[in-house]
């Protein structure tokens, strides 16, 4: 049993035979939200929804998923059903049902509400408001997206040269007609870093959770380390200390070279500090303590069992293998993988813990982590602009400086600067409010209800910001406008990072294309 590589309608294809009578298939495209800009955040997800909408297949299990670097559309059932979905998806991608645009935007907004909007602010703290950092941001660009932009994105990114097809069944199914436009394999978006020295932490008291993420080289030792860490967190925080309900660690492939290991531990509100301390101790134990031999053998056995499954049932690994092809990584040889897993020692696990520590970023509900030797992540801009100052209408509110090159909002707690040539997105409300998000993650809100502004300030800002980065929003209701009474607004809204990042160079052809199209709107 093995995987066959072939081509269907010009699309590189993986096929694996299976004996259970079932058929399945999917198309993986090398495009995801990390390829977008904040000003059009949600565009890929929208295309995915439109591609599936036209597929009248209530009787077939099918779905779509948009990730950082890839989008996956798939189905399972009979050969005929799978073929019908895949053919329908490709037909829809070539001729998007743009009359559905506004309806699907509503669906996406509902979906976002269902899962709580944007993800954790950690990715934004590490990468800024672009590339991999965009997972921290809501799909706020949807308001901006029109039919022209959506069709352009589908043509450029959902091409046959930017896709891998996978199929499984008794034999190659008949009747596939997957007409996708010609195009090119998209290069990966740049990996940006706005964080500064690591390990680093920031405080977020809005949830009773400790998050820690780290970017580590992909390896068997890192996978086994993650499993051991996950077990240790559960044993320490929940079973021993009763600090919370869930505590675990996950290993997720980021690209060809790196994986993201993410720790999430919730806690009782009155025991937040203890949860922070316990996570630090558990991480330290993996780094410096002894690795119980029986535990290492258990996680090794589980990993080997997963490899054995992929050997005997090769179709189960097809979507992952399709993604590896798109990321430019050779598929893992099961025999090599098994040898590597068998070779992992306790010292290797400790070395993986050291890798984790070296790039770790923590979000803690209180205490901070300076006591444990971690650096404070920057929560105040390291630059400010010169220009005209505007006082707050509140006694202790932040003041705004408007310069030729950008804006600085300054308060007792720090300052937040956004340079006009580094705006990731500007929300422009019809009521006159402006909210500028910098590529480094810093945020400046220009609210006529909070600041004593001249009449022409907003017009000056509008003239200075690239129209491709502007997201037009309707006027907010009078009751929901910010008011100066009560406590003053935060100077820097999370996520925030430092200002040293590169400008968002149109470094990939896809991004260049996106900017041109957005400007021409």
């Amino acid at each position: 049993m093995s995987v066959t590589e072939t081509t269907v309608d010009g699309i590189p294809t993986l096929f694996a035979r299976r004996e259970d009578g079932q058929y399945a298939g999917g198309i993986v495209f090398r495009v995801g939200w990390a390829d977008e800009t904040l000003a059009v955040r949600g565009l890929t997800h929208l295309v995915e929804h439109l591609a599936l909408h036209g597929v009248a297949a209530r009787d077939v299990h099918h779905n779509g998923e948009t990730h950082a670097l890839h989008t996956h559309l798939y189905a399972s059932g009979t050969a005929e059903q799978v073929v019908r979905v895949l053919n329908g998806v490709c037909a829809a991608l070539c001729d998007l049902p743009v009359d559905r645009l506004e309806t699907e935007k509503e669906v996406l907004r509902a979906e976002a509400r269902g899962r709580g909007g944007a993800g954790s602010s950690m990715a934004g703290m590490r990468h800024g408001a672009r590339g991999h950092g965009l997972s921290s941001y809501a799909e706020l660009g949807l308001a901006n997206v029109d039919a022209g932009l959506t069709v352009m994105w589908a043509n450029e990114a959902f091409s046959r040269d930017n896709a891998v097809l996978w199929l499984s069944g008794e034999s190659m199914p008949e009747g596939l007609s997957l007409t996708l436009p010609e195009g090119e394999r998209q290069s990966l978006p740049p990996v940006t870093d706005v964080l500064g020295p690591t390990p680093a932490y920031y405080l977020d008291g809005s949830e009773d959770v400790v998050h820690v993420t780290a970017v580590v080289p992909r390896s068997c030792r890192a996978m086994l380390f993650t499993e051991l860490l996950s077990r240790a967190l559960f044993a320490d925080l929940r079973q021993r200390d009763g600090l919370g309900y869930s505590a675990s660690a996950t290993y997720r492939v980021r690209d060809a070279e790196h994986a993201v290991v993410a720790v999430v531990a919730d806690c009782l509100p009155e025991r937040r500090g203890a949860a922070v301390g316990a996570v630090v101790d558990t991480l330290a134990r993996l780094r410096w303590g002894s690795v119980p031999a029986d535990e290492l053998e258990e996680v090794r056995a589980a990993a080997l069992a997963a490899v054995a499954t992929s050997r005997t049932l090769p179709h189960t690994g097809l979507p992952a293998r399709a993604l590896e092809m798109l990321l430019g990584r050779e598929p893992d040889d099961p025999a090599v993988l098994e040898d590597e897993l068998r070779a992992v020692t306790a010292d290797d696990v400790r070395a993986a813990a050291e890798d984790f520590h070296a790039t770790a970023l923590a979000q803690v509900p209180e205490l901070g982590l300076e006591w444990a030797g971690w650096a404070a992540a920057p929560v105040s801009s390291d630059t400010a602009v010169d220009g005209t100052g505007y006082a707050s209408l509140a006694a202790d509110g932040p003041t705004l400086v408007v310069g030729d090159d950008g804006l600085t909002l300054r308060s007792d707690r720090g300052r937040s600067t956004v340079h006009f040539d580094r705006v990731a997105a500007m929300l422009a409300y019809a009521d006159g409010g402006r909210s500028l998000l910098g590529e480094d993650g810093f945020h400046v809100a220009v609210e006529p209800t909070l600041l004593a502004l001249d009449e022409d300030v907003v017009a000056r800002i509008d003239a200075a910001v690239d129209p491709a980065r502007v997201v037009r929003r309707p006027a907010r209701e009078a009751a929901s406008l910010p008011r100066p009474a009560g406590h003053s607004p935060e100077a820097a809204g999370p996520p925030a990072g430092q200002g040293a990042g590169e400008p968002l160079a149109p470094s990939s052809p896809l991004l260049r294309r996106l900017w041109r199209a957005a400007r021409g709107r």
């Binding site: 200390d241 316990a278 330290a284 134990r285 410096w288 303590g289 209180e366 205490l367 006591w371 444990a372």
Partner: protein, 310 residues
């Protein structure tokens, strides 16, 4: 009055001399050997060494030669703690300068990181856990985290006397706790202690802290002579005298209860403890005796003529 543990206990003097006069390695090696009744009180030995600036130079040499030396690293952490607290001083927070706080926190953070690693390497050693109660207090890590550390410690050593004393401090309102939480802990802790153990004395310490923390002079004067408080002190007194004492920490327990009983107007009971103490008296209790020190001295002389010295 003798306050110095090295004067009270010749074995501690020998340990100190050995450590500062060329054989720190040997002194640290002897540290974990059993003392009276099989109880070691390693922490008291460590605190004695950490009070000596003369250990710094031999300690650096030891750790240069053996970077992994466990007791050496524990002592280094404790030296950082002691030096940090010396910089801070004992004044209340509003009388400590920013520069003092910065240096204090810097020392404590460095100590904490050594201790964190020691705990991770060998989770079965109670000593770094006990010292982490002190870093938690100085670094304001809060009661929940301090409690977690305390729980880890008592899993390893149920009757770690100093740890109970550290938690008493952390639970005081001046460090973010409350009197209710303090007394709940102190009673449970004293109840769980074997007769004779200095652990019984945490209840005395709690009462003395409550008394010293009372700003209203009238309330303070009446506090220790309140019948309920006197009953607590008498129970502690009976239990301390009833069983086998802990190797070193009996000095603190008897000092506390002797002074508390004098302040509570129960001098004849205090005599029994002063008899046990002989010339010894812990400096903290002595400081609390304040204007009543002459009375304590007289009672001690009385105890001596009755031949009640231990």
């Amino acid at each position: 009055m003798v306050h110095d543990y090295c004067e009270i206990f010749p074995d501690l003097a020998r340990l100190r001399d050995r450590a500062t006069q060329g054989d720190l390695r040997g002194a640290l090696g002897a540290m974990d050997r059993a003392g009276l009744a099989g109880v070691v009180e390693v922490d008291r030995r460590l605190w004695v060494l950490a009070g000596e600036a003369g250990v710094d130079e031999p300690l650096e040499r030891l750790l240069a030669a053996e970077p992994g030396h466990r007791r050496g690293r524990t002592l280094r952490a404790l030296r950082l703690l002691v030096r940090g607290w010396d910089i801070r001083g004992t004044a209340t927070a509003e009388h400590v300068t920013t520069a003092q706080f910065d240096a204090f926190h810097d020392h404590l953070r460095r100590a904490e990181q050594v201790l964190l690693r020691l705990c991770a390497e060998d989770p079965a050693d109670p000593e770094p856990w006990a010292l982490r109660l002190v870093t938690a207090r100085g670094l304001s890590l809060g009661i929940p985290e301090t409690r977690r550390r305390y729980t880890r410690l008592v899993e390893l050593d149920r009757h770690h006397v100093e740890a109970h004393q550290h938690l008493v401090q952390s639970l005081c309102p001046k460090w973010g706790g409350s009197w209710d939480a303090l007394f709940e802990f102190a009673r449970d802790c004293a109840d769980a202690a074997p007769d004779g153990s200095a652990q019984v004395g945490v209840l005395t310490t709690a009462h003395l802290e409550r008394w010293a923390g009372e700003d209203d002079p009238e309330l303070r004067d009446g506090y220790l002579s309140d019948p309920d408080v006197v009953a607590d002190l008498e129970e502690v007194s009976d239990r301390l005298l009833a069983g086998e004492a802990t190797p070193y920490s009996w000095v603190g327990a008897h000092s506390d209860v002797a002074v508390a009983l004098v302040l509570a107007g129960r001098p004849q009971r205090a005599v029994r403890h002063l008899g046990v103490l002989g010339p010894a008296m812990e400096d903290r209790a002595w400081a609390l005796a304040g204007p009543r020190r002459d009375e304590v001295e007289e009672l001690r002389a009385q105890a001596a003529t009755h031949g009640a010295y231990r």
